[in-house]
């Protein structure tokens, strides 16, 4: 199996690029006028949560769980067919 060094060699530059994209995306949001919505808040919560994942959860699981609907009952009906990527409604 690959070592940590192998993983760094394989993925560091790609992850660095994606990290920069996230930073630039947040700057872009800051720079523009208007109000954000639940997606922005959920994104920031996920960023924070992934730094200290709960015991037994990976960082990826923590991000996905933070961006998930945790209600348990089936919805009465659907008002749209697509999804937003974070729980909430526009």
């Amino acid at each position: 199996m690959p070592t940590k060094s192998d993983i760094l060699n394989l993925y560091f530059m790609d992850a660095r690029c994606k990290l920069l994209e996230i930073a630039a995306y947040l700057d872009r949001l800051d720079r523009h006028e208007g109000e954000g919505d639940f997606r922005q808040e959920a994104f920031l919560s996920a960023l924070e949560a992934m730094q200290t994942p709960p015991a037994g959860q990976s960082r990826a699981q923590t991000v996905l769980n933070t961006l998930s609907d945790h209600s348990t009952s089936p919805a009465e009906s659907a008002s749209l067919q697509s999804a937003y990527g974070a729980p909430g409604k526009l």
């Binding site: 199996m1 690959p2 192998d6 394989l10 993925y11 990976s58 990826a60 699981q61 996905l64 769980n65 961006l67 998930s68 609907d69 945790h70 209600s71 348990t72 089936p74 919805a75 009465e76 009906s77 659907a78 749209l80 067919q81 697509s82 999804a83 937003y84 990527g85 974070a86 729980p87």
Partner: protein, 270 residues
Amino acid sequence: MHYIEPHGHMVSRTTADYESIAQAGCVALCEPAFWAGYDRSSPAGFYDYYRQLTEYEPRRAAQFGIDHYCWLCINPKEAEDPSFAREVMSIIPEFLDCPNVLGIGEIGLNKNTKNELAIFEEHLEIAQKYDLPILIHTPHLEDKLKGTKLILDALKNANVDRGRVVIDHVEEHTAPLVLDQGYWAGMTLYPISKCTAARAVDILETFGMEQIWMNSACDWGVSDPLAVVKCALEMKKRQHTLTTVQKVIFENPKEFLSQCPNFKVNQLLQ
């Protein structure tokens, strides 16, 4: 290296895509019934779609040495109108004897509604009545976790044979729920909204190589018919042996699909 594409929506793809996946080693492709990107206006639209899946696509695939199989259902995105869905479901038995039909799928949930759940449960009844395997779609993004849990509850209530059910589009948070309960899991390599190749390999390394496959789910959206072989390359970069790669992209889907009475290993491999 040869592989099986266990989930591709080829009605939305060009013949050049069949040629590309054949060149990459694809020997069999399974096409679940799917949403067309718009709601069909009548059950007759589904009748024609099922004919396309059972007559036309197998011929198109065969030109490139690919065996084409399909799964039949009404997709959960069109299950919000139960009377319409039931009319469509009444057509399905007429097609179950077609030689490339594998079972019932991709059924499941989309927005996790009561109507979707009712139609999902009725699809399970059809599968059980005709003793067919089941392919399940789990919802997208924020709806996936809840939908997966509702689906697992419904499957438990229906007392299905877990080894004959594959639950698709798993990600890091749902893969263990599915695998721990004895179902098969499918990972979809779909840009932006599902798994990347690197994450799919992470899931394999974390949860194991058993009862799991990966697919491109290539359709009319931004998707890649070559995603499975690209993920195979990702596995090689992570130093997985060719035997392991071949297990995930060929032996595993073959093992599950061999439970479908109509599935046969491509004669080119015999």
